[in-house]
């Protein structure tokens, strides 16, 4: 009972805080901005974790999907909607960006049927480069100069809301037989196929869901910065997301949340070190990979993120400390 109650209390408290902080000005704008960044990064890390952590593929083009979501939602709010209606229809613009990104995900999923590991990494890398050059060459969206004119629609409650949706949907997916199919592909793809898992269907689903949420994150990002250009979505951005996933832990929702939070905060905290920041961050990563190659939470999950039906102690009596991690 306790385990069921706490997440609800935390979510409610989070919502109240996310409204109260901007309304009463409890934290200065800079800190609020960082909180929104953390939310966006959680969405990005979690959606990439679905491919890299749960499915065990290696996608390095996540920023490509993000850019699709960012541009589509920005074009909708700036060119198709008036400023007043954009504020109300913003969720739909974000969803449209997600759907656009999901369609791209569908295209990228097809090579994943035939190639794995390093080869799929090259394919996704190429995809990221292609989408960046395409955006640079479309003058209607500003080309290399970028696209601006969005209102600042990504507020703290909005970002918090989308983060919750992402966590909930991805958790639901993982704890279904489709999600278990994703895990079995990571473990042994041939055995998985022979155990009646339709691996093509599962891969399509995973790529579509992952890229949808990358697109959502892109839409939120565009309406936070109020300015986007293709260079923001290059391979460096993709690498950032990869780092968050592998820092927090592959195959873990708690890990992605932790990874995105720690990485975003570290980047800000280490800012006074200026250029040394780019020496210390990679060093932290090297040590992490040496001592915990699967990340902080690698393949472990906090019980809160496991549906009640699926918890370890749902079979029989409590097993001591193990009930906290399944």
């Amino acid at each position: 009972m306790k385990a069921r109650l706490w997440p609800i209390i935390l979510i409610a408290a989070g919502f109240i805080l996310s409204f109260a902080i901007p309304y009463f000005g409890l934290l200065d704008l800079y800190v609020q901005m960082i909180l929104i960044y953390i939310c966006i990064n959680i969405i990005l890390a979690l959606s990439l974790n679905l491919i890299n952590g749960y499915m065990g593929e290696f996608s390095v083009g996540h920023a490509g999907f993000m850019s699709a979501g960012a541009y589509i939602s920005a074009i909708i709010t700036v060119k198709c909607l008036s400023s007043a209606s954009a504020a109300w229809l913003f969720p739909f613009a974000v969803i449209a960006g997600g759907v656009g990104a999901a369609l791209l995900g569908l295209i990228v999923a097809i090579p994943s049927f035939r190639t794995r590991g390093d080869y799929l990494a090259i394919v996704t890398l190429a995809f990221n480069m292609i989408i960046k050059s395409v955006l640079e060459n479309i003058d209607a969206v500003g080309g290399a100069r970028g696209f601006l004119g969005m209102d600042k629609l990504t507020t703290l409650p909005v970002a918090f809301f989308w983060t919750l949706i992402t966590i909930w949907v991805i958790r639901n997916f993982i704890y279904s037989n489709y999600g278990r199919g994703v895990l079995s592909i990571r473990e042994d793809e041939i055995a998985s196929d022979l155990m009646s898992v339709n691996t093509k269907q599962v891969k399509l689903l995973a790529f579509v869901i992952s890229s949808f949420f990358a697109g959502v994150a892109g839409g939120l990002f565009a309406h936070l910065l109020q300015f986007i250009n293709p260079r923001m979505f290059d391979i460096i951005k993709s690498t950032d997301i990869l780092i968050m996933v592998y820092l927090g832990g592959i195959g873990s929702i708690a890990g992605s949340i932790l990874g995105a939070t720690v990485y975003t905060l570290l980047l800000e905290i280490l800012r006074p070190l200026e250029i040394w920041r780019m020496v210390i961050m990679p060093l932290i990563l090297i040590f992490l990979m040496l001592f915990r190659p699967r990340g902080i939470m690698g393949l472990k999950e906090l019980t809160w993120f496991v549906p009640v039906l699926d918890r370890i102690n749902s079979n029989r009596g409590v097993k001591g400390i193990r009930k906290w991690f399944s």
């Binding site: 037989n177 042994d188 041939i190 155990m195 009646s196 393949l299």
Partner: protein, 260 residues
């Protein structure tokens, strides 16, 4: 009734003929063995039957349906399940999840229902869990349900592989060297186990095995492969006295000692 009929199955790896003109007629509830020296093409036959490889030519009718050209998962859904020569469990997942994954083709909710945990999701998940636990307890493995598959002892992993194959509700079970790495006592128990499984689940079984004692005592019929061709077929007594087989396989003293 004929359950499976393989006709003129031929498979090439590049220029190398791995299986040539393989024919097999399998009646329901039979237990047959495929034997032959290493590299004779036994596992390739399994891989063709389960769709891992697409035969270069030939046809396999299973339960009235052609399976050559179908994907492995759809062939499994038709009712052919298998185990592997070297254990291929989902080692970082729990025993229960290993079994639940094998229910994939029988899962009756759509991806949308899965994403929202709505509709038929709850009832189906309960059914799949209950059925999986029932299977596990049938094989007295229910207390390991939450254990990671890789943490089980070797013999238990072999058993779990069979349970996982049974979870796909097969009509035909293919066992690829189930006795590998077992001592004589364990092999005795495995033989009883296979007989019991066949009767309980009304299965037809094909076994690939090197242990002569094992195949001679449990199989009703044997097919002997050598360099991809079927060199003999018949009941164990016939095979033991077949000159070709003795020459190709049982003839070498080392193998005879091994079989005693």
């Amino acid at each position: 009734m004929v359950l499976l009929k393989a006709e003129n199955i031929t498979h090439y790896f590049g220029g190398l003929c791995a299986v040539s003109e393989f024919n097999l007629e399998l009646r329901e509830h039979e237990l047959i063995g495929i034997i032959g020296p290493n590299g004779a093409g036994k596992t390739t036959v399994f891989n063709i039957m389960t769709g891992v490889y697409k035969a270069t030519s030939g046809s396999i009718m299973f339960n009235g349906q052609e399976t050559v050209g179908k994907s492995p998962n759809s062939i499994t859904a038709l009712g052919i399940a298998r185990t592997f020569q070297n254990i291929r469990l989902f080692s970082d997942l729990s025993v229960l999840d290993n079994i639940r994954i094998a229910h994939y083709s029988g899962t009756k909710y759509t991806p949308i229902e899965a994403l929202l945990h709505a509709g038929r999701y709850r009832a189906e998940e309960k059914r799949i869990r209950a059925h999986s636990m029932e299977l596990l307890s049938f094989f007295s493995m229910e207390e390991f349900a939450d254990e990671l598959a890789k943490n089980l002892p070797y013999g238990m992993q072999r058993r779990l592989e069979i349970v996982r194959a049974l979870a796909t509700r097969p009509k035909l079970l293919l066992l690829d060297e189930p006795a590998a790495g077992m001592n004589p006592k364990e092999i005795d128990r495995l033989m009883e186990f296979i007989h019991w499984v066949r009767n309980e689940f009304k299965l037809t079984i094909i076994v690939i095995e090197h242990q002569m004692r094992f195949v001679m005592s449990i199989c009703e019929r044997l097919v002997v492969l050598d360099f991809g061709t079927t060199i003999a077929e018949g009941n164990p007594a016939e095979i033991q006295n077949n000159a070709k087989v003795l020459e190709a396989y049982l003839g070498t003293p080392a193998v005879n000692d091994y079989g005693k």
